[in-house]
Amino acid sequence: MTSLTVTDLHKGFASQPVLRGIDLDVADGSLTAILGPSGSGKTTLLRVLAGFDGADRGTVRLGDLVVDDARHRTPPERRHIGYVPQEGALFPHLRVADNVAFGLNRRQRRSANVRDLLDMVGLTGFERRYPHQLSGGQQQRVALARALAIRPALVLLDEPFASLDVGLRASLRTDVARVLRDAGTTALLVTHDQDEALSLADRVAVVRGGRIAQCAAPRELYERPADAELASFLGAANLVDGVVAAHAVQTPLGELALRSDCLGPPQPSPGVVLVRPEQVEIGSAGHPGLAGRVTGCEYHGHDAIVTVEATEPAGRSPILVRVAGGGHWADQEAVTLVAHGPVVAWTRREADGPVAPEPGRPVEQPAT
């Protein structure tokens, strides 16, 4: 069953269009991440869904109920949508327990509800504190408990972890995902952090230019993005020139198999291939493969990204290689590169056009 259906949603401010036709289905009980760069309209989408702003065109359905069809708009208080804003936005004049119980009537408040909710977000015994006596992470937990208290059909989370430090962010987002799943609540999480979207969500919808560019499960999105630009947006990517055939691509890194769910053109034609850095293997000079020279190394501890410039032909964009455990490759060291499929590729609209990330035509076979 679908919990939320958005159809052709448009919204602009002062004749400046922000959303230009959003289509989105969110399944009951799922956690969907809305991923997009700053200014892509994610927060606007959330505000329209919550009912703070009205749609200019299109419809928003909650279950079978139309809550906004650009003419009639159900006010926020009648939508039953929980909302967790960027910085928690706890009511500063209310204690934690009163914040959580804000949306409950007197009878609901008397039941042990509030304590249960606080237990659930790991804040047992914090009832009588004021918001300013809490850390940032604790405030976010209270905000989540407050949103869940009204047993909402849908919870909207607007970059809820953006203001937290890295360690806290990681632990809190796992907790939040667990709480949401335990509560069985459908949730929509807005974020600009790819890691966050890919690691937390059941599905990720990427917003670009006011539309949903792609909506898919995290693995599918990462491995089979709809176009080259999405590929780069979702993580480190090598967009390599190649000749695309029916089942394989010819690249400077060798011949790579196309993913089984992709079908190339019948006649080999020039295109762009997505090779993730972890698909490239680096070896000492002399091994078979593309000869090159190390020009940089980005050390991450658990792994490293090594930048290699091909010797021949010069001027080609450098290739990124992910190396487990950190690279022991010296600067300017001569190396060879080999890649492993399967990969995704797009044919070029024009053979002599610019190299990626000009959006190419996807060559994927229709899934049906």
Partner: protein, 465 residues
């Protein structure tokens, strides 16, 4: 001549108030000045002293204080707190990080003050200047004592000596026009003003205070001179007359009854003005459109009109259409509320602007209707602003004289009317206790106000910390 007098006085006093108000606010908020908390109260107190008492104090201490220089001196001392209060609040709320960044980029302390601190406080300075300029346009009592002619004193002359109400009203139109010019100037200067709110989510740090070093003694001396002139002279005069004793021939009226009436009328007016200001502020801040901005700004024009003109308008209106209300306490309270509505609006508006609208949206999403959200979220958040508005209107009403004399219920004495009765009969000794009680009653809200502006948590601190 009148126009020239009015304009040059407004410009000179407004500039002086801006300088004094800003400097005192900066010294108290951003330097290691000793006894800051006491000074913070003292510099606000002059607003509690009615202009006619200030003017009288000066004339009796130094009769040479008159004309343009006298008016500049007295009005600057009486009005600079109107700049001090908002500027101090804004300096307290502004992010000290900006000043630190400027210093780290090699800007000196003076350049930082000029280029960063002042810019942050710009909106507050302009807001304060607006109040000062409008108050100057409407001022009468002090100028009469100081023998300085402005449009307002001319209105009184037309009215009192010439029995010429139409001419007085025509002159009032000039005042309205001047008020509009001031408003436009403020709007124009305010446009492009920088937003001073914090951009990052971090909790506000308390600003590091600048050590005064060798400047300490001159600064302290400056504060002493300021307080001495602004407080010492009028209060000293009152004490002198009280010590002289009231060898008055006037019958004694209960000072307690006068004080009670004064407090009751003023409190009712303050509550009414505050309640009326809330929706206007909410609409002006939350639904900012040309029409709502116009609505909000237009209410400030009232501030440029002398109490006499507004009181007469109330007489004209109520005698014809609401005769049962005429000279009733309710009408006086309503007149006060209209007279001082702009003051209430300034305070409430600042508070509403600081209350994050996001909190109201969260309230809505949790199933509360707009009215419920107003009651349970907005009101508690803007409560300090409501209290401030209440105090501002209260202390203005306590010290009001001209409208009170015209609209007060027949037979009722307030502190101001009683002071006037004695003062016009040269019974300064008998008048002094009434003036003292006026100052005493008005001082309470002034101190509350000072503390509110002083301690007002910055917006981000409310949300995050």
């Amino acid at each position: 001549m009148l126009l020239w007098n009015t304009v040059r006085l407004a410009v000179t006093v407004t500039l002086l108030c801006a300088v004094i108000g800003t400097l005192t606010a900066w010294c108290i908020e951003r330097t290691e000045l000793p006894a800051r908390s006491i000074l913070a109260v003292l510099v606000v107190l002059p607003v509690a002293i009615p202009d006619f008492i200030v003017g009288y104090g000066w004339v009796s201490v130094a009769p040479s204080v008159h004309g343009f220089p006298g008016a500049v001196l007295v009005m600057t001392l009486a009005l600079y707190p109107l700049v001090y209060l908002p500027v101090a609040a804004s300096l307290r709320g502004a992010d000290p990080a900006h000043e630190e960044i400027a210093r780290s980029l090699g800007w000196g302390r003076l350049r930082t003050f000029w280029g960063v601190s002042l810019r942050q406080a710009r909106t507050a300075i302009l807001g304060g200047c607006l109040l000062v300029a409008l108050a100057l346009l409407a001022e009468y009592g002090a100028f009469e004592i100081l023998r300085f002619q402005t449009f307002t004193t001319e209105i009184f002359t037309e009215f009192q000596v010439g029995f010429d109400a139409p001419a007085a009203c025509a002159l009032s139109l000039v005042l309205v026009a001047l008020g509009l010019v001031v408003l436009l100037a403020e709007t124009g200067a305010g446009r492009g003003g920088v937003r001073t709110s914090r951009t990052g989510p971090q909790v506000a740090r308390l600003p590091r205070r600048a050590p005064l070093g060798r400047a300490l003694l001159p600064t302290l001396a400056g504060f002493l001179v300021l307080c001495g002139l602004a407080l010492g002279v009028p209060i000293g005069t009152l004490v002198y007359w009280m010590a002289r004793g009231g060898s008055t021939t006037l019958p004694g009226t209960s000072i307690v009854s006068a004080a009670l009436h004064t407090a009751l009328y003023s409190a009712a007016a303050a509550a009414l003005a505050t309640v009326l200001a809330l929706p206007v502020a909410l609409v002006a801040v939350r639904h900012r459109r040309p029409t709502t901005v116009l609505l909000e700004r237009s209410t400030y024009v009232v501030q440029a009109l002398p109490g006499l003109v507004i009181a007469l308008a109330f007489v004209f209106f109520s005698v014809r259409y609401l005769p049962f209300l005429y000279q009733s306490p309710e009408l006086l309270v309503l007149a006060y509320a209209v007279l001082f509505f702009p003051l209430a609006l300034v305070a409430v508006r600042a508070s509403v602007a600081r209350a994050p609208s996001g909190l109201e949206e969260v309230g809505r999403s949790l199933g509360r209707r707009p009215l419920g959200v107003l009651w349970r979220v907005t009101l508690p958040l803007v409560a300090p602003g409501l209290a401030a508005a209440f105090c501002l209107v209260f202390l203005s009403a306590v010290t009001e004289l001209t409208a009170t004399l015209i609209l007060v219920p027949t037979g009722v004495h307030t502190l101001a009317t009683q002071f006037w009765a004695y003062e016009t009969n040269l019974s300064y000794g008998a008048a002094a206790p009434y003036a003292a009680v006026i100052v005493g009653i008005a001082a309470v809200p002034s101190v509350v106000l000072g503390r509110w502006f002083d301690r007002m948590p910055s917006p981000a601190a409310v949300v995050v910390s």
